[in-house]
Amino acid sequence: MQQRSSTGGGGGGGGGLQSPRSPSSQPPYLSISVTDPAKMGNGVQAYISYKVITKTNFPEYQGPEKIVIRRYNDFVWLRDRLFEKYKGIFIPPLPEKSTVEKFRFSAEFIEMRRQALDTFVNRIALHHELQQSEDLRTFLQADEQTMERARSQDTGIFKRKPSDLMQIFRDVQSKVSDVVLGKEKPVEETNPEYEKLKRYIFELEDHLAEAQKHAYRLVKRHRELGQSLADFGKAIKLLGACEGDALGTAFSELGAKSEMLSIKLQKEAHHLLMNFEEPLKDYVRAVQSIKGTIAERANAFRQQVELVETIKLKEIDLNKYRLTRSEKTLEAEHEYEELKADSEEATKRFENIVRLMNEEIVRFQEQKTQDMGLAFHEFAKGQARLANGIADAWRSLLPKLETLSSS
């Protein structure tokens, strides 16, 4: 995640926007950083605001650098807009809302959220289509009042939360069960490859969620062990004070080492959290985001199919009217034409989604392999570092203990 915020779209790895209108010889870049979380307001209304710094040479943007203040809900707005407009594309996931009050303002939570938000915007900036979004420009540049207005406007028809989409998807699924119960014809694609993909995504989420759960627990265990070592060290030191002479010194050195190791463990716990658990969590969120896209595709498919059905019916009616030379004929013909246009659009929309999804899945898999490779590497590195530190610490005590027992 660190890589992206610094290099942005540079080096050809950023989706290669070759805008013919770009006058500068410099390769195009759009790099964003989310920093400086600050607590605003009081009591129940309190929230965290972030500084969003944009550096770019895209012509559509107002200038090479812009700084705005945004809060979490602004990011949510951006995501929802993108989800609406760019169906078929896997929109980068957002960190979750926190429901536990006291956790909301803890330093660790804020830092994790900040990092996740930073990753979020930069992924958008790196995506060859998403980076051209007007909403993105608004998000990155508009002043706070404009932003607030935009946010409140969207509590209407257009605002759809992922949970709503889940509901839609569940409707789709329930339609399947309706078939089993002999109620209705299912309106679902019968593409076997796509079926496989859907199954894969759902199972993947389960596996990932479990791994993430254990990763989080492991972080906690590191912390607990650190605490135990600290307490143990202290107690051993006190015991050493009782014993006195060489043995007492040995005890107090043991205690000191124990306390030192405690610190190492706390550090490692933090490292594990940020560099292994969070990437895993991010992976889970990404998969959930894909599920949203799957729902959208199902939606689009259903719309298309329904329109086709409706057109067929309309055709029958139209022919009826034509035969009976009814005055409704003209109206019917109008409607028919409209429906045909709608149907074409719906088909186009659906096919677009399919095309995009195919591209996206390739990109997704590659990206995830990279991300996970890095995460595992960090995990191994951290554990090696820890094991080294522990071994060194204890080993350094051995010579003293040798002399102790021989005396």
Partner: protein
């Protein structure tokens, strides 16, 4: 302080098995607790994902486990057994230490080899016979001269152990005696009987380890004499109280003063003399029982008081360290367990990705994961082994906490003895003043009356007796003081040695050499993978 035999850490033998079950119970599938637990994880998979191919996880991991050229494919299995590295690293260390301990070369008679000084006890086969109580078979191997035979076997019940313990604490006042096992019965089931067996064995072995007690007649009788235990319960409080109660009315009515056997009189008034018993109890209760330092008795031995304070401080710190050690062990256990579960979860993920792979990138990812998985699982196992050993070493702390109780009890003996001395002293002086008063009156009335003179004679005799008793008590007290002193020296020396060993063992044990190596090797591998990955991605973009 002699440790119990290392060969049978019964108390903790359960934990590895338990931990194994915990690691396996990922999805609630029933897994057997055999050693190849990782393969059971795979069984779980077959439960949930019927689509999976017959390629087992084990095969994936073993066949591609080429990260360590020194290991043959079977070595993965060896890591699943409780790693032998543990034994290699400090098996020899333990062995030496064990020899030192069993050699009893500290205070007792022979500082030579174990052959002429050997006393090993084993407690087995609890049997609830025809009666309602359980008997244990106690076998002794010895070449101590006091014992008639080298090998003997007796059956004893728990109340016999209690009798033994009571007799020893009466005969060896002032010594730091091991605490006998708890009398309370929780539930008469298999587990309880087994636990009691272990406790009895531990207790007897501790007695056998004590340089003075091991040569005692009481212990010998217990270990060798067949049939009903012939230890006379002379100091059974209940029966002696009954005896004492018989004499009580006479004393109260002052008819005659019972001639008291000095030695018996010396015994903390628990014995026959009820009046004195109550007096001493009252005094103790007022001033705090036994080990409290709030005695009004002037403890002239300042050195003793200082030592006492130090020992109390030691006890406090030992308790504290013991608690923290327990929580440390628990944390170590938890982290190992979670590491194992993470490994298993990643195993499933790896398998899933490998099987469902549509893209090459997925296969690469699965391979990356596999390295982490292997290391994680191995680390988990190493943590478990680490813990078993840590428990063994830190258990010393618990042993010494037990010792502290013994110390307290020995100090109680001392205080009680002093209390007896002082009580007797005050009795002497009371009697004396009564005599003087009577004599004074007698002189005024010339000739005096017969009864009064008789009374004076009786009192004088009582005073002589009491004085004798007092002298006896003083001797006993001095003896106890001496016992305390010797024992304290012994304790200090043994504790010093034992703690040195404990520290060393603990530290050596904590150096997870193999863990370290494993992660390093892995880390390097992943690094090269990363480089490859970058190249791959860069190429595919062009």
């Amino acid at each position: 302080m002699m440790a119990y035999d290392y060969e049978e850490p019964h108390l903790y033998a359960n934990s590895p098995a338990v931990m194994e079950t915990l690691v396996l119970h990922v999805d609630g599938g029933d897994s057997d607790t055999n050693k190849s637990s990782i393969f059971n994880g795979e069984n779980d998979n077959q439960h949930h994902y019927p689509l999976t191919s017959p390629v087992t996880v084990a095969e994936i991991i073993i066949s591609e486990d080429d990260d360590d050229p020194n290991e043959n494919p079977n070595s993965f299995n060896s890591f699943l057994e409780p790693p032998s590295y543990a034994d290699a690293v400090f098996g020899s260390f333990d062995g030496d230490h064990g020899k030192q301990i069993n050699g009893h070369g500290v205070v007792s008679t022979s500082g030579k080899s174990t052959s002429s000084d050997h006393l090993k006890i084993s407690v087995n086969s609890p049997v609830s016979g025809v009666n309602t109580y359980v008997t244990y078979l106690i076998t002794t191997w010895t070449d101590l001269p006091e014992f008639d035979e080298t090998i003997s076997s007796v059956r004893r019940r728990f109340s016999d152990v209690v009798s033994l313990s009571d007799r020893i604490s009466d005969s060896y006042r002032g010594f730091f005696l091991p605490m006998r096992p708890d009398k309370s019965v929780v539930m008469k089931n298999q587990e309880f009987v087994e636990q009691r067996r272990i406790d009895v064995e531990k207790y007897l072995r501790k007695l056998a380890a004590h340089p003075v007690i091991r040569r005692s007649e009481e212990l010998r009788v217990f270990l060798q004499v067949q049939g009903k235990l012939p230890l006379v319960k002379t100091m059974d409080l209940a029966s002696t109280m009954l005896d004492g109660a018989v004499r009580l009315p006479k004393q109260l009515f002052g008819a005659s003063v019972v001639a008291v056997d000095p030695r018996e009189a010396v015994h903390l008034g628990r014995g026959k003399d009820m009046v004195r018993f109550f007096k001493e109890v009252r005094q103790s209760v007022t001033y705090g029982w036994g080990g409290s330092t709030k005695m009004p008795l002037v403890e002239e031995d300042k050195e003793f008081m200082e030592k006492r304070m130090k020992l109390q401080d030691l006890e406090l710190q030992l308790t504290n360290v013991s608690q923290q050690a327990e929580s440390l062990v628990k944390s170590q256990q938890d982290i190992g367990e979670t590491m194992g579960r993470l490994g298993l979860a990643l195993v499933k993920l790896t398998k899933f990705e490998t099987e469902e792979a549509v893209f090459n990138s997925q296969k690469v990812r699965a391979k990356d994961m596999k390295y982490v998985v292997t290391s994680a699982v191995k680390t988990s196992r190493l943590y478990r082994e680490l813990n078993t050993q840590t428990i063994k070493h830190l258990d010393k702390l618990h042993d010494y906490l037990g010792e502290m109780l013994a110390v307290n009890s020995a100090h109680s003996d001392r205080s009680n003895a002093l209390l007896t001395v002082q009580t007797l002293e005050s009795e002497v002086s009371t009697l004396n003043s009564r005599i003087e008063k009577l004599e004074a009156v007698a002189f005024k009335v010339f000739g005096g009356d017969r009864s009064r003179i008789q009374k004076i004679e009786e009192l004088k005799e009582a005073m002589r007796d009491t004085d004798d008793a007092k002298n006896c008590a003083v001797r006993v007290y001095e003896q106890i003081k001496e016992n305390n002193k010797i024992e304290l020296e012994r304790l200090d020396k043994e504790r010093h040695d034992d703690f040195c060993g404990m520290l060393k063992g603990f530290v050596v044990n904590q150096v997870p050499q193999d863990m370290q190596r494993r992660w390093q090797v892995h880390g390097k591998q992943l690094q090269t993978k990363q480089v490859d990955m970058h190249k791959f991605v860069a190429q595919s973009r062009m």
